[in-house]
Symmetry: C2
Subunit: 805 residues, 2 copies
């Protein structure tokens, strides 16, 4: 990839977002538009006895009170959830009716007047409760929603060979996507079907869901995407629910109908990240070589399965971490509960197991008294390694990531201890902050931690064995270019990558191009913006499309000049002969084209190599390829309050090829920010099935102020990605590496390990107290004097040793 | 073409139009939308001295008064007309300012308050005045806007060989499109450009025009078509004007802006059909063989040239009629005048010259005392004939049309005389009315006339040498199909043809498909719905697209079954092996496809063979192919009032292949209806440059009640069209044949020829008086007694002989 293609390119979607001209779904208004608001079940498990909408309907301006009886098509969305509950609500927040009214305020008011009689049913709130004998089933006969396994070798043999075996348990919390734009949809009835305007990250999937719910053939539902205010794995199942409710309202009233959720509604009814409980047993030789690993996990699916199968499958196949282990047994079960449902959230499945496996690696290193980086290096996947699913890996750049980590992050003492004064100066920007000049403030301790991961790219065999996307383009007579892409721009910069690819092939400035808003009528189903598949699929499809157009142009110009079309060079908005003797501007070339051929356009379609999974034998080629990453975190902990500051964070990611350096760094930064919340602050509180977190005031998102120094390092390693562009998806692996590095750093600082996310103030404070108790840190919390005393002796030895000094 | 493909198919656009759910541009509303109204020059030629919008702006709710100074881009639309006049208005009705206001009523009111000071300039109102020495030029130095010629052989030699030479002059009037939906556009500003909603028949052209007017690159303007209420050659240049005015308003105000014209505005500012004056000189042998023809024509271009070049070019190359003539000279000049501008109207150029040439053929027949059908047959184009432009013809079915005419229309006596009692019974539907049972009513005479034509298909070399269109299709997972077509559905049924072609190739019911609304962002530029090119270009493109999809499907199913993909048969919503032993439903096949390939879609692009025209030598291959037609008309004339009733009308058209019989008959009927208005009732009156016809009360459109018996005969003749489908365009030739047949029938009844269209009541009445004077009919108008007397003797001999009996 030539250097010019990694240069920054203005984000085309930025202008509208900055000026306020971008129109989100809630900005869209149609004459005669109605507003739809959901009536929700307040109980975690309840049978609907009667719904009485008469009082609501008596309000002037209330048009309809819809219930499951009004559903025209199938009242069962893909992956389980009903449009509206027909008989039994399975969690608090389940939609049981929808009020359609002339204004939003009226719809909200009227929804409160809908009287629903319920019979409360017994409920289960944890996977353990759910799977206990005699538990009330949420669906069918059993609350075992899904169990995925991987088996490799024989763990008995593996553990028998081990010199050391440790067992640990970890847990992760219920988190959410936190897209600043809540979910919503506007549905407009047309003469021949309906048009859905909504920010679905998988527009083709939403189209199909709505078609089924409305009893329409798929070609009668068209989905057009307005601007999208983030998704982060969301804007998917919830959008299906919302769009289907709005669609039924539109079809029944014959008027445009809009439903947009408030933040509270997103919290109450919207999907969340799966909480996981993971038990790890690992055996290793004294030299650090892992001999066996046994993993048993339990995930809270909530009331509906949605994409739990895919999430838990990914967690299962990635649960070992990126290590060569001969004997593996992994079993992760998802259990139905009467909690709000869990679904894909950025990284789905990976952050949970990566937190556990990378915490475990440090625990094993401590047990073996080894350097945590060294133990990772010993076991790390290398080119040709075979995973727990018997997949032989290609394009493995983990060692390169670890090398880079060692190079740029001052971390090389044994057993989590770090000695910044000895560290090599960091090689990246913002060197100053990590140059080893430590000025520890009073009452603070510092620690450093690392982690590394592997992560499958794109959908993977657990979701679909086929994965493709389309990009088409039309070159106008004035040389400007309209690009159609099947991948939703959620803010991740995917559109820019597509434009860059066209730019690279045609040698035309990105400023000359425009991406047309995504419309399902445009292009073949190009899947969803999930699994970090966007750049890989549409980036390659864009190249195919641009090459198709280039061929058309080159043939005309070669005929004009004589010579072979394939030897022409497209560069700097010009076309040149190979020898540089002839030159024509791109625009002039297009003018000539239109005198010789009736159209200048290009069609592109690119599919990933097929993957496979054997659900009986629990093995397969899970993903077409994997990316790798390593993270180094330095934290400073206020021993008085337990507050953890991120002093330095290095996120190294194998991106295959860099297409747009600022964009890829932005993706890594965004992932890290989300991961920091996952690690330390974010948790949706739920008690007896009732969501207690109802807004961002109770759900703390990290901001840029929470990063004192952040160093994203996109790595172009030896082995490029296996697709033609050589690029790897980075949207999610960036979310998976940070949490264990931070927790390892906290352990490094305090000598106490926290195994349950998030590591919030309370947990850190408890760890400080524990550290004081066991003597890994000097007590400061009991006396302000100690605090002051430490402040006077900023001993570098404290660093990584806590109060041991 | 198999029979099943000619079966009637429900019109998909009909449902919306019948139920009122179809949304036309004037139905579209956006929040914050503004209305734009034009301020027009009342003088046919005037310099703008000052525009004062202050009084208008003082009205609350008036947002802007726009003038040419506000235009951001180029104030010169393609083909001449300005968005708003900057200095000199060239006709009454020219837009000089546009008022933007919160409501339409306010915009109209405010427009009247805009004070414009003019300096009136000398004006010219006829081509003769315009071309006279010393005339005030409308543009530049000369009012000669365009002259087209054809030259073949040497007319001196040709006339020298003639036994008979006659010279005649004909004229045609200013008519209009009469689409029931007036022109309009709504422009919505977007973050990255603008979206234009308008019923443009050439959406890609409008997009380009608006982009240039707004100073935007072409990819920043997207045009989406709402439902269209007819165009008939219009919805083109006027739409450019309207969309550009609305676009400048939208860009300047930043709000959605709509301009829709009233009928009066369409009449005052909208384009019209070119009035022609044509002088013919023709020489022939006694046996009827034509030896030479000389044609000189003059057309009123009006104030702006728009598509006059193309219209006059077509008229020039078709002016001889469909006859082998060795020596030809045709010259037609278009002159600028200060009248409202002329533009393409259905048939553009053909109806004018066909009226003249086919009137002339009857006059020549009378001169030679020959049967008018016989003289046509003697001279008619045959396979391999060479036109006046030196083009060798293929797929010539004129003789077949004449044979069919003779077979179904009782017309075979010499010299226009007909003897219905001897005629063979008609072979088509509604035989009764033409079965020879004539019951002539009192005071009436009857006559029969014929005509025949040839007409170039699609754009032709005078417009563009390249002509292509795209059709893409996506097959959804449920087997339903979304079809994208680049051709505007104006009501002509073009979308249905596309669906039928897909149906034919994939063997799937049309009900399973949907055509998505046209959007310029979808597809490559597929040109305009003009020149009867729709079915030829998109019909063939649809086949290419469907074959592309079929290949994908067949490969999967053949792999499933074993065997060769190309031998599979797609029929009746199933796929079969060649031997019929294996069968799968289309939907099941698609389900299988989606397990094997990631997408099922088809892309189609089809271009007509290139054509050429040498503007110096006045020769070339003008059109890729031609269609042929013949018409027979029987009229009954009330000798008291001059009222002409159409008793019987047979329109025979070489359609190459019939794809959809009801649709093609509908097209022929629509064309005939428009032609009847052209022949008899329609005329836009204009006096000293002022349009006097301001609504349909003064512009009489024929209705179904005006056809007592209409028999459209689409003919699948020996030589199919030269494109892969073998189909020929029929949208316009149907408009060209009727007028001369009716006028020849009137001449046949009265013995008096009318050479100026329309043959309205006054002209017919004058002809009756002339007939009485010269004795071709017995006088009835002078005395009611005569009327009664004739009524008592309904002598068949009267038939075609007027009062000679």
């Amino acid at each position: 990839m030539e250097k010019e293609n990694t240069r920054p390119v203005d984000r085309q979607d930025a202008y509208g977002k900055i000026t306020g001209k971008a129109r989100y779904v809630d900005d869209l208004k149609y004459p005669g538009m109605l507003y739809v608001h959901t009536v929700r079940c307040p109980y975690p498990h309840a049978r609907i006895l009667n719904i009485d909408g008469s009082e609501a309907l008596a309000l002037p301006g209330v048009v309809k009170v819809l219930t499951a009886k009004d559903i025209i098509g199938r009242n069962h969305l893909p992956n389980d959830k009903p449009v509206l509950v027909a008989e039994v609500a399975k969690c608090a927040g389940d939609g049981v009716a929808a009020v359609v009214a002339e204004t939003r305020a009226l719809a909200v008011k009227a929804a409160k007047l809908v009287k629903v009689d319920y019979e409360e049913l017994p409920a289960v709130f944890t996977p353990e409760e759910a799977l206990a004998p005699g538990a009330q089933p949420v669906h069918g006969d059993s609350n075992c929603a899904i169990t995925h396994k991987t088996v490799k070798g024989d763990i008995k043999i593996g553990f028998a060979k081990a010199d050391v075996i440790i067992e640990r348990e970890y847990s992760t919390q219920r988190a959410m996507h936190s897209a600043l734009e809540p979910d919503g949809a506007l549905v407009v009835p047309e003469a021949d079907g309906i048009t859905v305007y909504c920010p679905g990250k998988g527009p083709f999937n939403v189209k199909r869901a709505v078609a089924a719910a409305c009893g329409l053939s798929e070609n009668r539902v068209r989905l057009i995407q307005p601007a999208i205010g983030g998704a982060f794995g969301g804007k998917d199942c919830d959008i299906n629910v919302i769009a289907s409710r709005a669609a039924m309202a539109a079809m029944i009233t014959g008027r445009p109908c809009k439903m947009t959720w408030s933040r509270e509604e997103v919290l109450i009814e919207g999907s969340k990240r799966h909480p996981f409980k993971l038990k790890y047993k690992i055996g290793a030789k004294k030299d650090g070589r892992i001999t066996a690993i046994e993993i048993n996990g339990l995930a809270d699916v909530g009331a509906y399965i949605t994409k739990s199968k895919a999430t838990i499958w990914r967690a299962t196949v990635e649960a070992t971490g990126p290590y060569n282990i001969e004997h593996v047994s992994t079993t992760i079960t998802g259990a139905y509960t009467n909690n709000v449902y869990s679904d894909a959230v950025r990284g789905f499945g990976s952050p949970q197991v990566d937190f556990a496996s990378e915490s475990l690696m440090n625990e094993l290193a401590r047990e073996l008294d080894m350097d945590p980086l060294e133990i990772r290096r010993i076991n790390a996947y290398r080119e040709g390694s075979v995973t727990a699913t018997s997949q032989k890996l290609r394009s493995v750049n983990l060692i390169e990531c670890l090398d880079k980590l060692e190079e740029v992050f001052p971390y090389h003492a044994k057993s989590c201890s770090t000695a910044p004064e000895n560290s090599a100066p960091a090689q990246l920007e913002n060197d100053a902050a990590v140059s080893g000049k430590i000025s520890l403030r009073p009452g603070k301790v510092r620690g450093r931690g690392i982690s590394c991961i592997f992560r499958g790219e794109a959908n993977g065999a657990g979701v679909t064995t086929l994965d493709a996307a389309a990009v088409n383009m039309h070159i106008e007579r004035d040389g400007s270019i309209t690009v159609l892409t099947g991948i939703a721009e959620m803010g991740q910069g995917g559109s820019n990558i597509v434009l860059q690819m066209v730019s690279k092939v045609l040698g035309v400035s990105v400023e000359n191009m425009k991406v047309s808003p995504l419309d399902t009528a445009y292009l073949p189903d190009s899947g969803a913006t999930v699994g970090s598949r966007g750049t890989i699929t549409t980036g390659n499809a864009a190249v195919v499309a641009a090459e198709d157009a280039r061929k058309r142009i080159a043939e005309v110009i070669a005929e004009e000049w004589g010579g072979k079309p394939e030897t022409l060079i497209f560069r700097d908005n010009n076309i040149f002969t190979e020898d540089g003797n002839k030159k024509i501007s791109f625009q002039d070339a297009i003018t000539i084209c239109y005198t010789r051929i009736p159209g200048v356009f290009g069609y592109g379609w690119w599919s990933l190599p097929p993957v496979w999974w054997d659900f009986d034998k629990n093995c397969g080629d899970t993903y077409a390829s994997f990316n790798y990453g390593a993270c180094g975190a330095e934290v400073e902990i206020d021993l008085t309050s337990g507050k953890v500051d991120i002093i330095d964070l290095v996120a190294i990611h194998d991106v295959g090829k860099i297409l747009n350096e600022p964009e890829v760094k932005g993706q890594i930064a965004g992932g890290a920010s989300m991961a920091l919340g996952f690690a330390m602050t974010e948790e949706v509180e739920i008690r007896k099935g009732q969501v207690k977190t109802l807004n961002f005031d109770g759900y703390l998102l990290p901001t840029t102020l929470d990063f004192n120094n952040f160093r994203p390092v996109p790595l172009e390693a030896k082995q490029p990605g296996t697709n033609p562009l050589g690029v790897k998806g980075i949207g999610e692996s960036s979310t998976a590496t940070l949490a264990p590095a931070v927790v390892n750093a906290i352990e490094n600082a305090l000598g106490v390990r926290i195994r349950n996310l998030p590591v919030d103030l309370e947990k850190v404070f408890a760890a400080i107290q524990e550290g004081e108790r066991i003597g890994t840190i000097a007590g400061v919390t009991s006396s302000p004097m100690n605090h002051g005393a430490r402040a006077e002796t900023p001993d570098p030895q404290q660093y990584g040793k806590g109060g041991k000094a």
